[in-house]
Every structure is written in C-alpha cells, then in structure tokens.
C-alpha cells in the first residue's frame, strides 16, 4: 500500500471513529434502500399474479 493511501486510511489517527461513522451511514441508508425495494418488488409481484398482467 502506498504512503498516501495509508495516510488517507489512518485519518490522522481518527480512523477508528471516522470509518465506523461512514460504515454506519452506508449500512443504515443501504439497509433502508434494500428494505424499501424488497417490499416494493414483493407487492408488485403479488399484484401481477393477481391480475395476470405485467402492468401494476
């Protein structure tokens, strides 16, 4: 790993606080997106089955 990359990852000694904060953000926002999309697709499929068509 290059020096610049190592310095960046070290975050001036705050790596243990900065990266978990960004990780949590990715986790919570990504989780919300996944959760919303999964429910959306599930209900779309159910409606398609009921109607026997592709249009919701």
């Amino acid at each position: 790993m290059s020096d610049a990359a190592a310095r960046f990852l070290a975050m001036g000694g705050y790596a243990a606080y900065v990266w978990p904060a960004y990780g949590l953000t990715a986790g919570v926002l990504g989780g919300l997106l996944w959760w919303c999309l999964a429910a959306y697709r599930r209900s779309q499929r159910r409606l398609e089955r009921l109607q026997g068509t592709r249009e919701p």
Partner: protein
C-alpha cells in the same frame, strides 16, 4: 388547491413512476460527489483534525431527522383536516425513514462525541431532544400499527405526530437555550453561516444527496402502500364475485 391534483392516487402513481429513476440517479450522484468532497477535498479542522469528516454524515442525517418529522407532521395535519387519501400513506411511509436518519444521527454523533468530548453519550439538551425524536418515530409506528382498523390507527398516529412537533423547536434551539456540550448552529443561523465555505459546500452537497435519497425512498414506499391497497381491493372484489356466483364453501378457491 393545487395540492389536490397530486392527492389523487392514480396521478401519484404516474408522476412518481416518471420521477423515480431521475430522483434515484440524482441521489446517487449527489451522495457520490458529496463523499468525494467530504473525504478528499474538504480540509481537516484546525482543532479536530480529520475527525471533523464525521460532520459530513452526522449533520445531514440530523437535518433529515427533523425535516422528515416536519413532513410527517404536515402530512398528518393534511390527513386530519382534508382527509386526503395520500396524506396518511405519506406520513406512515416517511416514519421509518425518519427513524433511520435519527438513529444514524445519534450513532455518528456518539462516535464523534467519544473522540471530541471524551464521552459516547451525555444527557445534554440537544442529544436528549434528538433521542426523544427517535422515540416519537417509534411511538408513532407502534401506535399506527396497534389498531385492528387501519383508519383509526392512522388518526391516532396523526394526532401523536402533531403533538410531537413541539419537539422540533426544542431540538433546534436547545443549543441556544441551554448551555450545553453540543456546539451551537453554524449553518442555519441569523447573520449567515460561520462555517468556512470549504466545509459548507461538501456539507450542502451531502445534505442534498440525503434529501434526494429520502424522496426516492418515500416514493417507493408510497407506491408500495398503494399497490398493497389495490391488492386488498382486488382480493375483496374477487371474494365478493365468487361468493355471489358459487355456492357456500367455494369461496376459498
């Protein structure tokens, strides 16, 4: 009233279907640019060093926590007063998203606080009022789902959402009214922002990205709720049709 035009579920489905891909793409673009600015372009703070980069996720999450609640309360008011079919759906769809942003705000703030204040948590007025906001979201969700009849749950939830709005000015002004550990406002304040432009821009780009993501998720959740309502209506009419045509016992087919 122009709001009425968009309160029609069929029109909402058409409009959101056209908006959704653009809104989602814009959210992804702004968050990507915001991340680049926050991690590579914005300078380290003269006191906090690189730890200040937590601000670029903590502050937008905090803004969203309050903004989503304000929207939820507004939708609840519209639902109670005009009984728009979409207003209850909008409020209920927004609530878990607001709870997510509030949780994110609390968790990233805790990480930041541990490093800068030396404590994960303190019963400071700002922190406590944001925790109350988180419980308001959870309470709203519990209350709405506590009734067998969805309409009654939605009404009870709407009243709770409106009562809880007194917490928003408490959050906003807690840092001025009480002498607390949390720093006072440096962006939305009389006399303009005191934060440097090199930090303000990444913050605003990220906040716009979070707002667009919220709009995308809200549309997805509202569309889901409308599809579910349609499924219920279809199943009911199916049961009625079969119930009328077939002898008893054949209804379950």
């Amino acid at each position: 009233m122009t709001l009425h035009r968009f309160a029609n579920p069929a029109r909402f489905m058409r409009l959101s279907s056209a908006l959704l891909p653009w809104c989602g793409a814009a959210a992804a673009a702004f968050i990507a640019i915001g991340l680049y600015l926050a991690l590579f372009v914005a300078p380290p703070d003269y006191q906090q060093g690189e730890a200040v980069r937590i601000m670029y996720v903590h502050v937008p999450a905090a803004w969203m926590a309050s903004l989503v609640y304000a929207l939820m309360a507004l939708a609840s008011a519209v639902a109670l007063i005009w009984r728009h079919p979409l207003a209850d759906i909008a409020a209920l769809s927004a609530a878990p998203l607001g709870a997510g942003f509030t949780l994110l705000c609390l968790a990233t703030g805790s990480l930041w606080g541990e490093r800068m204040w030396g404590t994960w948590w303190v019963w400071d007025a700002r922190l406590t009022s944001v925790l109350v906001l988180f419980f308001l979201y959870l309470g709203y969700l519990a209350l709405v789902n506590a009734f067998d009849e969805p309409g009654r749950g939605a009404r009870a939830g709407a009243i709770l959402a409106l009562v809880g709005i007194v917490n928003l000015p408490i959050i906003k002004f807690s840092v001025d009214w009480w002498n607390t550990l949390h720093q006072p406002a440096s962006v939305f304040r009389l006399g303009g922002p005191t934060i440097d432009a090199s930090m303000l821009w990444p913050l605003l780009v990220m906040a716009l990205g979070f707002t667009l993501l919220f709009a995308t998720l809200l549309m997805i959740r509202m569309r889901t709720a409308l599809i579910e309502a349609k499924i219920r209506a279809l199943m009911l009419s199916e049961i009625e049709r079969h119930g009328a045509a077939a002898p008893r016992g054949a209804v379950t087919s």
